[in-house]
Symmetry: C2
Subunit: 315 residues, 2 copies
């Protein structure tokens, strides 16, 4: 048995075939190039058709798709804020029709990421684990006793909205306190703020036009001992540690996996994140939890989509 996995992002669509034992092959990448609404649906159908044709010798029994937003399990529709027209997109119905009735399973990228990591990545065998994706934004895929936490409206895991400071800032209203302080865009934003606040600073970050400044610049400057970058990252470590502590105290997980573009370069701070978390968390759970980084990197959600499809084919 084989399945087709797709990972839809805001700008591109990855696809690959997985065999039952979790081996991935034939990974391809297509770019959205400004497509919106049903054009994105059509691109997905093309990829599916292409893969099914390629795999003629072995039947594709199911399709799994990771989407960059929220999957509403009851209606089979998707809300994806970065794809114009996908406010309630009937992805399951459309793909089921276009493939002549193949099994189609969909879930959010954060749900797929934790599924992928427990199947073939860092968290293999775990039944209670949290995948924290720190990129432009922050989200979490949370596994509770072997099942991904969905919540009442399929929005569980919106951890970027976690309150970690009692003094409210109006900027939190658009993205959440944790995401404001400790996402990739948050780190860049805070660096720009500090450059404005500290005219005496004349380090390497001063020479970069504010609009071009990225987290890569901040991590690179910190590696060279730049004091402003070091301070920004130390603050982020505090928030990552507090968030970790809150997952530990609430969920008592076996493992917390850090992924997304920022982990990446922030992976080398895992020990400091653990130290920070240990100051805050329920101490017994804290001693037992393992912190690690994603083993699958940018493919975590693709693996998870494969797992979704295999689970569907097996039931």
């Amino acid at each position: 048995m084989a399945v087709l996995a797709l990972d839809l992002g805001g700008t591109k669509l990855a696809s690959a075939v997985f065999s039952q034992d979790g081996n991935m092959r034939g990974k391809t990448m297509a770019h959205l190039r400004g497509r919106s609404g049903s054009e994105v649906g059509a691109l997905i159908s093309e990829q599916v058709h292409h893969a099914i044709t390629q795999e003629r010798h072995e039947e594709i029994e199911a399709i799994g798709i990771s989407v960059p937003g929220i999957y509403h399990a009851r209606t089979g529709t998707v809300w994806a804020p970065n794809i114009p027209g996908w406010t309630d997109y009937p992805l399951v119905e459309e793909l089921t029709t276009r493939t002549g009735g193949l099994l189609v399973r969909v879930d959010s990228d954060r749900a797929c990421s934790i599924l992928g990591e427990t199947w073939r990545g860092s968290a293999q065998g775990c039944r209670n684990a949290v995948f924290v994706a720190v990129g432009t934004g922050i989200g979490a895929g949370i596994l509770v006793d072997g099942t991904v936490l969905r919540g009442h409206s399929d929005i569980a895991g919106a951890t970027g909205w976690m309150a970690l400071e009692s003094c409210f800032r109006p900027e939190y209203a658009g993205c959440g306190c944790f995401e404001f302080h400790a996402s990739g865009s948050g780190l860049a934003h805070r660096t720009r703020e500090m450059l404005d606040e500290d005219p005496a600073y004349s380090g390497t970050l001063r020479s970069i036009p504010a609009d071009d400044l990225t987290t890569e610049h901040v991590f690179a400057a910190a590696l060279e001992g730049d004091p402003l970058a070091t301070h920004v990252i130390a603050r982020a470590i505090t928030y990552w540690g507090m968030a970790t502590a809150n997952y530990v105290s609430l969920f008592d997980p076996e493992m917390i996996i850090f992924g997304g573009g920022v982990f990446g370069p922030a992976a080398r701070f895992l020990d400091r994140i653990r130290q920070e978390a240990a100051r805050w968390a329920q101490p017994i759970s804290m001693r037992r939890v393992k912190l690690t980084c994603s083993a699958l990197g940018p493919d975590a959600a693709l693996y998870g989509a494969g797992r979704l499809a295999l689970n569907a084919g097996n039931t």
Copy 2:
């Protein structure tokens, strides 16, 4: 069919018989009076024996027990910090033996409270809900898709340890940041601190010896407009609101239920807690969640113990 429910606290033991339809009868209360270790086990056995004898006309088919600590499901043992000698107490084995093999089910008071509320209290029919018990300490019973969240080591829901301020205070180390600021003992402690810091204050709280000061005094003073008490409660509302926001963003629950001794008098601040939470939380989940107070009050865990036993009897 009938079951026997017991709710063991740090100082007393409540018991009652429940019928299948959730009607409670014959509630009794026994006091621990300094008992420890196996003496507490013996008291529980006595109560069970007494109830079974009383209920001669109708068979008791199962026993459910709520315990003030952690229940280790794999070993059937209990850790209860306020009962000397109960570090790993073999409650299930002991009671099963003493009752000649009756079905015995145990869980923590926070797990039992959310079970009780979903069965016969505020959260009937909910499959995703959080019960926050704010008393001397703070804990949470969390229902995820109809099942109580246990975690890897049965310690999930240790919400008193939630980090809600990035500036760490050494006092957090013993109880957790949220519990330090917003539990019953935290409120009393913060009031004493403010009395020390504000020698000019001459309100009603000044006349109470520091050791006698309780949350009841603080709530009563706030009702009369006392500025110090009003400030202490406003701070607590901020933390209760932030914690609520964090449950909303992480769990996307249908309902959050406030219980424990502090709710109680803090019940009248539910609207302000909601306003505070709405500043922080994922906005879609926030609009959909309902906040309410426990309908079962001090009996929530007893009802939950009854439900545990009925579930056991039905499987």
